[in-house]
């Protein structure tokens, strides 16, 4: 590649990077402004002065318990992820490695639901959650979404790619199917399990539509659903709202940086090959 082309490429790459990152930078910087500073026209990029006002407000406002929402979100996303990993890996093992009546039909049915837009099930799911007495509880943001056809499908494909000789050896050594699953297959599947874990956590952490409608009490909200309340309470007090947005972003951005390879490979793989 010529020097000119290389320079042009980097110019485009950097310009685009600014387009993608500038709004996020603006969010962080605004969260560090005073109320007046954020409304200044024309507004500056750097806070003048730097201020903890936004964070102070969200952490002390009893009407909008942002910390509590943070804890709720953390709990919900963690439990949801564990539930997906356990149920999907067990089901995927059965579908990939065991023989039983109804295996084909069961798998076809599960895959079939991949093609139903989840939003079209929201009303019946709401009524089902209601009849179980789950509305306005942590359970309702942990469990229903964990019926992940994607998770089962994704892990099944991965299990099929693992050579069966290792399991045969374990069986010949006297291991039963539970031991084969727990001691042979799962340890070999760490990359796939990690990918599914990260994707499940991100999805649950960021979920908005469902928690907005199934959670009511201010104390029970998750962070995304609570942010709406925050915006209502601090209509134009942008440092406060942006502080809430930053708080909702930090865990997933950290997770993304740590697990970047998993997330990106998971997306490209689940999209195309799964």
């Amino acid at each position: 590649m010529t020097t000119l082309r290389r320079t042009a490429r980097y110019a485009v790459l950097v310009t685009l990077a600014l387009v993608f990152l500038a709004p996020l930078l603006w969010m962080v910087l605004t969260s560090l402004k005073t109320s007046g500073d954020a409304q200044r026209i024309p507004a500056g990029w750097l806070p003048d002065p730097f201020s903890g006002y936004g964070y102070d407000r969200i952490l002390t406002d009893a009407q909008n318990p942002v910390l509590r929402w943070f804890v709720n979100s953390m709990l919900a996303a963690t439990l949801h992820t564990l539930l997906v990993l356990v149920t999907a890996s067990m089901a995927a093992y059965a579908l990939a490695r065991l023989r039983f009546r109804g295996r084909r039909a069961g798998f076809a049915l599960i895959v079939g639901t991949l093609f139903i837009p989840p939003t079209s099930l929201i009303i019946p799911n709401f009524l089902i959650a209601d009849s179980l007495g789950w509305l306005d509880t942590l359970t309702v943001v942990v469990v229903p979404g964990a019926a992940s056809a994607f998770g089962v499908f994704f892990l099944r494909q991965f299990f099929l790619s693992i050579p069966a000789e290792l399991e045969e050896a374990a069986v010949l050594d006297g291991a039963n199917q539970w031991q084969v699953f727990a001691r042979v297959l799962l340890p070999l599947s760490k990359p796939a399990l990690a990918t599914l874990a990260v994707l499940s956590f991100l999805t649950n952490w960021n979920d908005f539509l469902w928690p907005v409608y199934v959670l009511f009490s201010p104390d029970n909200l998750t962070l995304p659903s609570g942010l709406g309340l925050l915006q209502g309470a601090y209509t134009t007090d942008y440092p406060v709202i942006m502080a809430g947005a930053v708080l909702a972003s930090v865990p997933v951005l950290i997770l993304f940086v740590l697990a970047q390879r998993h997330v990106i490979q998971g997306v490209s793989r689940s999209g195309l090959k799964g």
Binding site: M1, V12, L13, L16, F20, P23, W26, T30, I41, A43, V86, T87, M90, A91, R97, L98, F100, L109, T113, F115, P117, T119, S120, I123, P124, I128, P144, G145, A147, A149, Q157, L160, S161, E167, E168, V171, L172, N176, Q177, F181, N206, D207, Y213, P224, L227, G228, Y238, G244, A245, A248, V252, F256, Q260, H262, V263, I264, V267, R269, L272, K273
Partner: protein, 320 residues
């Protein structure tokens, strides 16, 4: 992490590879009930929150189902008829939401098919910093719609927002009502969505680009094909299955748009940017008419299914 290609070895529609056939005879020795025990936890979730809602939704749509009232009489197809007869109370709101979703989808999908392809082509060659830029372009997608919605509501604010200020700084009109008037609200919703999700589609294209055999490019080059010819005759045909996937999933995602209009334009100026999904949850959960909302959901799901099938047919036909 295992090689991508091995994961792809078995597809849903293909018979399992030979490697998986052998262990069955060995593993079959387990007790007959064991497979069902492995399936049971997931199956409970699946039956209650995957399959039951489908059947329950169909049942709901045939009833006048006021969440707050005890009597839920069977009304046959009345809920569906209401959505199509212009003298029903819901007709206007419903079709306005269909129109909103249609406008959003028609304008966002082409951009979300083309812009990410450009990004992927830019990132496809090996150069220092490639992984970094890939992560940067993907980063907004990691944030939830609640965060990007609040953020852009602020950035697009006509008076305080950064967007108008930047436009003013380069001598353009600085008072555009980005979130409160059409067509600007549409530009905002589509623009924000392209910014938010392009990285996602770009990653899928990148995976597809890496699957195109380099020999094809070599051969094209030997035949004297220029960059454009190579793109047209090697890259595009090689990407066809990937494009089909991107196109279909993007149409589905765009048709399901909710958070952006809920948070950024808040339906404004009137009801113009209130989308189908928003209409469905409002009808079912705010106006308490679960029967009518279920009928809307089913029409919506069927429409999306038809669009997906047409996509597949069209692309398969082109391939022949």
């Amino acid at each position: 992490m295992a090689d991508t290609s091995t994961v792809g070895a078995a597809r849903a529609d293909a018979p399992p590879p030979a490697a998986t056939r052998k262990p069955r005879s060995v593993l079959r020795r387990g007790r007959a009930v064991t497979p069902y025990l492995f399936l049971a936890p997931y199956l409970v979730l699946f039956l209650v929150f995957g399959l039951a809602p489908v059947l329950f939704g169909a049942w709901l749509s045939l009833h006048q189902w006021d969440i707050q009232l005890p009597n839920r009489p069977f009304v046959g197809l009345d809920n569906y008829r209401d959505l199509f007869s212009s003298d029903s109370a819901i007709y206007g709101d419903w079709w306005s939401s269909v129109r909103a979703t249609g406008i959003f989808t028609v304008f966002s999908v082409p951009l979300l098919v083309v812009v990410p392809l450009g990004l992927a082509l830019l990132l496809n060659e090996k150069f220092p910093g490639r992984t970094f830029f890939r992560a940067v372009y993907f980063a907004p997608y990691v944030l939830g719609v609640a965060v990007i919605g609040l953020l852009w509501r602020f950035l697009l604010d006509a008076n305080l927002g950064l967007v108008n200020r930047l436009l003013g700084a380069v001598g353009l009109p600085a008072d555009t009502p980005w979130v409160t008037d059409v067509p600007w609200a549409w530009v905002s919703l589509v623009g924000v969505t392209v910014w938010w999700t392009s990285g996602f589609n770009a990653v899928i294209y990148l995976a597809g680009l890496q699957d195109i055999p380099p020999e094809l490019y070599e051969a094209a080059r030997m035949d004297g094909a220029g960059a454009w010819d190579r793109f047209r005759n090697v890259t595009l045909p090689g990407l066809r299955p990937v494009m089909l996937f991107v196109l279909t999933t993007t149409i589905l995602a765009s048709a399901n748009v909710f958070g952006q209009s809920f948070l950024i334009t808040q339906g404004a100026p009137g009801q113009e940017t209130r989308t189908v999904v928003w209409r469905i949850v409002d009808e079912g959960l705010r106006d308490n008419d679960a029967g009518r909302a279920a009928a809307m959901s089913i029409l919506f799901a069927l429409a999306l299914a038809v669009i997906s099938i047409v996509n597949f047919r069209f692309f398969r036909y082109r391939e022949d």
